[in-house]
């Protein structure tokens, strides 16, 4: 089964990378999800596969006896899944906001931060604006809110 999984892992990586290289924001997020899926499965596979022997100590024993599934990769993957979930949730909301603000889901239209000044092909650059307000102004706003 490990060999089969090795190909699935390869397939997931390939699919993920292919999706990342698209121009659509949505496909970008799908790509990210596939990549993290692939990495998790990779760790799992390399921890070797054991059928039906979870790392749970039976109630009549004090320790696990061989054979048992390696608990370490499982713990690592659990951590990685949760972290991956957090990051992906953030990424999903990020593309939503990017779409709302830029008004397109085409990544090729999101080049303003890279393209050099004075280059005619660039869309108008929205310069970052850290707003400097006077303290008075700021207080007024805060009270109004």
């Amino acid at each position: 089964m490990e060999i089969v999984l090795a190909f699935i892992i390869g397939g997931l990586y390939a699919a993920g990378l292919y999706m990342l290289m698209r121009r659509s924001l949505v496909k970008l997020v799908i790509g990210l999800a596939l990549l993290s899926q692939a990495a998790n499965l990779l760790i799992f596979t390399l921890g070797r596969l054991i059928r039906g022997r979870p790392a749970l100590i039976p109630s009549d024993m004090a320790r696990l006896v061989e054979p048992f599934a390696d608990p370490v990769p499982q713990a690592l993957i659990l951590t990685a899944i949760v972290i991956g979930f957090g990051v992906q949730a953030f990424a999903i909301i990020l593309i939503k906001r990017a779409y709302q603000t830029v008004g397109t889901d085409d990544l090729d239209d999101m080049r303003s931060t890279d393209v050099m000044h004075g280059s005619s092909s660039a869309p108008p650059v929205n310069l970052p604006n850290d707003k400097w307000r006077s303290p008075v102004e700021a207080t007024l706003r805060d009270e109004g809110a």
Binding site: L56, G86, A89, I93
Partner: protein, 135 residues
């Protein structure tokens, strides 16, 4: 109609799900489960509640601001790690109570740590869900 069926269902489902989430949390140390999954179930319960009765009601039922819940979860987790430090042991060392409780089994700081995880997960999920719902 739909909402009536839903709200009736949720009235019974909600406490059950909460109970189940606590069960998952507590048995995690000895069987499949744990703080993370438990937290997700609890969050799902509140999400259902919000769908059935609206976001403000869900917030009221939750009782605290979801972001406070996040911080509380972190605080409990760190606190469980700091506990042993006061008795001169390294950070996050497990400290166990002597007696074994009937339902919980052994009680110690790792369990407290998992409670922290549970709280943080509920807080995060509620923050996301409620904020999105209000969009």
């Amino acid at each position: 109609m739909f909402s009536i069926i839903l709200s009736t269902a949720v009235r019974y489902l909600f406490p059950l799900m909460l109970l189940f989430s606590v069960f998952l949390l507590l048995r995690g140390h000895n069987d499949a489960g744990g703080g993370f999954v438990g937290g997700l179930v609890a969050a799902a319960a509140f999400a259902l509640y919000a769908i059935a009765y609206g976001v403000p009601a869900a917030r009221r039922t939750l009782g605290v601001d979801s972001r406070v819940l996040i911080s509380l979860g972190l605080l409990v987790a760190v606190g469980s790690g700091l506990w042993p430090v006061f008795s001169g042991q390294p950070f996050l060392t497990g400290v166990w109570a002597k007696p074994t409780l009937p339902v919980l089994g052994k009680v110690g700081t790792p369990l407290l740590f998992d409670v922290g995880v549970y709280l943080a997960v509920v807080g995060v999920m509620m923050t996301i869900i409620l904020t999105l719902a209000e969009e």
